[in-house]
């Protein structure tokens, strides 16, 4: 059967990254189940401290999180325009202060950075102090929860862990799933 299809849309672009192409395009790991936790982010703490202190106490070092929204006393985020130095395809902008902002909805990942320390990667939509709805890469250490706790649905990852490593293709460190290692 032949059908005629319209072809009046732009072609999806791809970008050339600085490093060698990795033929493995999807790096994936699985476990037989996930452990679910309702986490309340403690008022006054940074997003980073609130996530890490509570989850490490629950022996969770790798997790995927849905932040259900709430007020921040102060929130900072950044965006990712093209890298002016041309070393990578994009580079994070300087921090943008959103002031006292409401996080509408966010997603975050907990893993370990290259040195083995806890890493929180968070993207969210926010309503900033001027009432403008914005979005971007949240700076978890520079964003502080206001007076009311914020609910988070945590899917704790077990059987493998999330670890940051330098990615040769993009020349940017990033989280990838990896076999569990002992950090005792």
């Amino acid at each position: 059967m032949l059908t005629h299809a319209q072809f009046n849309y732009p072609r999806a672009r791809m970008l050339r990254h600085p490093g060698p192409f990795n033929p493995v395009r999807i790096q994936s790991m699985r476990h037989q189940s996930g452990r679910h936790i309702r986490l309340l982010l403690a008022p006054g703490l940074s997003l980073y401290e609130a996530v890490v202190s509570a989850l490490y106490e629950a022996n969770v070092t790798s997790a995927s999180m849905t932040i259900l929204g709430g007020q921040f006393r102060h929130l900072q985020y950044c965006v990712a325009p093209p890298d002016e130095q041309k070393k990578t395809v994009i580079a994070y902008s300087p921090p943008i202060s959103a002031g006292a902002a409401h996080m509408i909805f966010g997603n975050a990942t907990l893993g370990r950075d290259i040195a083995g320390a806890p890493l929180v990667h968070c993207h969210a939509s926010i309503c900033d102090g001027h009432g403008e709805v914005r979005g971007g890469h949240i700076l978890p250490g520079e964003s502080f929860i206001a007076e009311r706790p914020i609910s988070v649905l945590v899917t704790a990852l077990e059987g493998f862990e999330l670890r940051q490593s330098f990615d040769e293709e993009t020349s940017i460190p990033m989280l990838k799933p990896a076999a569990e290692t002992s950090h005792e």
């Binding site: 849309y9 672009r13 990795n22 790991m29 395809v89 994009i90 914005r134 990852l157 493998f160 990033m174």
Partner: protein, 138 residues
């Protein structure tokens, strides 16, 4: 009708089931977001799944509009700041992802809609957690 071809007249309105396995994946640059999620299901053997969380960046975003066209949000990078969706397999067992979300452009301005398959190339990385859905009827 949704992307997997279910019509309101025939769709099962309640599907009891439970969550099964959990997969976390990183989709590499220039791979399509929607087809990438479908390929994760192929790789992990999930017939049905819910997106449990995801974040990352796109070269440009292609978001469906109600008139049947789509909005091109130009990057790079367009950051995905919210995403929700599911994957259902068709009668042949091919996984089909229906994903929608909110993206932020290089100025932090936000846009939203369904992600159109083939029009959402990943910029640097996309991290996604999928939770397998196991209907009681299967």
């Amino acid at each position: 009708m949704n992307d997997s071809g279910e019509r309101n007249s025939s769709v099962v309105k309640i599907e009891n089931g439970r969550m099964g396995r959990v997969a976390y994946a990183r989709i590499a640059p220039n791979e399509d977001l929607v087809q990438g999620v479908e390929k994760i299901c192929l790789a992990e053997g999930f017939s049905n799944a819910f997106v449990r969380g995801g974040l990352g960046s796109l070269v440009d975003a292609g978001l469906g509009t109600s008139d049947g066209s789509f909005l091109r949000v130009s990057g790079p990078a367009v950051e995905i700041v919210s995403i929700a969706g599911e994957v259902r397999s068709d009668a042949d067992g091919t996984p089909i992802a229906s994903l929608a979300g909110i993206v932020a452009d290089t100025q932090g301005r936000i846009h939203g809609g369904p992600f159109i398959a083939g029009q959402n190339p990943v910029c640097v990385t996309f991290e996604v957690t999928l939770e397998e859905w196991l209907p009681d009827t299967q």
